[in-house]
């Protein structure tokens, strides 16, 4: 089926789905799509959900989506799973927890692999979010496993980040290592009926005390996601944070910062592609590698000369 922007603006889910594919794969015309939709972005409330594997993120997201639906909002979900570094393939299994949302026409769920291309990863997520935003979804969740820096970067595309932890499994330690505690605007202790919930709560509080004092103190909510408990508290926390962002002017500041990062990345990306294309197509690059390897010259001199040639 041919993609048309007209269908996209007419609210066709098929067209939204196709647009994300085109942008994700950088197929012909993807930049035109992004140029056209950009002016219509910035309306949605974008929420990142992250946490260690097995923390119950998908189940929590499932419940949050249902809650926002009851409030009459349309919801998008960007569910991200890691791409295998060996094959480039991925198994995207987050939908399974959200199967009963599949038939709700007010919900759009899209699974994405991290695909591991340097830097481009978080931008592809950002683009998918922008497409959902422009298409008209009110609330958009970006769900990702908080295991490394790349996932942290993805979540930075959100206005508000929810960090999901579970007691008693040492996941808290992992989370600290992965750096996801620093990015939490709201915390939830999921499966809070387990032993160790209080201890985990104390640990998060202590960690927050260590940081610089700020106007926003991240609330710590407790949930049992698979029984639907505590969901309203989390939603309140998220909305409070949203309100705080708006009133403090931080929302604008964060978004401006995001534009800055995004543009810097795009420039960086564009230039490096341009340069690499130049020197690989002419075969120069292979020669340079050989010369450096043989210690006939050094990488610093070579890079000076390559960049100098192109930008003279």
């Amino acid at each position: 089926m041919e993609f048309s922007m007209k269908d996209f603006w007419n609210g066709s889910r098929r067209a939204l789905a196709r647009a994300i594919t085109i942008v994700e794969n950088e197929q012909d015309g993807y930049e035109e799509i992004m140029k056209e939709i950009y002016h219509h972005t910035g309306r949605a409330q974008v929420i990142g959900v992250t946490g260690a594997p097995g923390a119950g993120k998908s189940t929590l997201s499932d419940n949050l989506v249902k809650f926002y639906r009851k409030m009459g909002k349309t919801v998008g979900v960007c569910a991200i799973d890691p791409t295998s570094p060996f094959s480039g393939g991925a198994i995207l299994g987050d939908r399974i927890r959200m199967n009963d949302l599949t038939l709700d026409q007010g919900v759009y769920i899209r699974s994405m692999g991290t695909r591991g291309s340097l830097g481009g990863l978080s931008r592809k997520t950002a683009d998918a979010v922008k497409l959902m935003d422009a298409w008209g979804l009110d609330v958009i969740f970006i769900e990702t496993v908080g295991v490394g820096q790349s996932e942290v970067d993805i979540v930075k595309n959100a206005d508000t980040t929810l960090v999901v932890l579970v007691p008693g499994l040492g996941d808290d330690i992992q989370a600290i290592k992965a750096g996801i505690l620093e990015i939490g605007d709201v915390f939830t202790i999921n499966k809070c009926d387990r032993d160790g919930a209080d201890r985990l709560n104390v640990e998060i509080e202590m960690m927050l005390d260590l940081g610089e004092a700020q106007d926003w103190r991240p609330p710590i909510e407790r949930t049992i996601a698979n029984e639907g408990q505590g969901i309203e508290d989390v939603v309140n926390g998220l909305n409070e944070h949203r309100k705080y962002l708006e009133e403090s002017g931080l929302l604008e500041e964060r978004r401006r910062e995001r534009v800055r990062t995004e543009m810097a990345e795009m420039i960086h990306d564009r230039i490096s592609r341009h340069v690499m294309k130049e020197i690989t197509e002419t075969g120069k690059f292979a020669d340079y590698v050989e010369q450096v390897y043989e210690r006939q010259t050094d990488p610093y001199t070579v890079v000076d000369s390559i960049v100098g040639d192109i930008f003279k």
Partner: protein
């Protein structure tokens, strides 16, 4: 332009819980570089079609061992067509008697893989037909 990744929805319509085959195939497709959206057990035809739509997949791979394939597989094909996704490659697998295969193919299921099929055959078929 980057390579377009092949996206495959692996789904189990019907009620049977035998997902060994579906999971082995899902892994094999991943190891062949594809993105596999796995939706698990007991998917209704509507759920499969909606998920295929949202995820904009190139392939829908159905697995069924209960004998309900003659009812459910053609319904998925029809559902996709109704969504304007008639170009999606629909394939099936499971305990399916040879006598049923021509009928399923006629209904638009492009290939049926029965027990004992190497996963490589499935991978090759997808790569050749997407």
């Amino acid at each position: 332009m980057a390579d377009k990744k092949i996206r495959v929805l692996v789904a189990k319509p019907g009620l049977d819980g035998h997902d060994r085959g579906a999971k082995v195939v899902a892994r094999a497709l991943r190891d062949a570089g594809m993105e596999v959206i796995y939706t698990g057990l007991r998917q209704t035809v509507d759920q499969i079609v909606e998920a295929a739509d949202s995820e904009d997949v190139d392939v829908v791979a159905l697995s069924l061992l209960s004998g309900a394939h003659n009812t459910l597989f053609p319904e998925v094909v029809e559902g996709l067509k109704a969504k304007g996704m008639g170009d999606v490659l629909v394939i099936g697998g499971g305990v399916i008697p040879a006598a049923d295969i021509p009928g399923l193919e006629e209904a638009g299921v492009k290939a049926i893989f029965t027990p004992g099929t190497p996963t490589k055959d499935i991978i090759d078929f997808i790569k050749a037909n997407v």
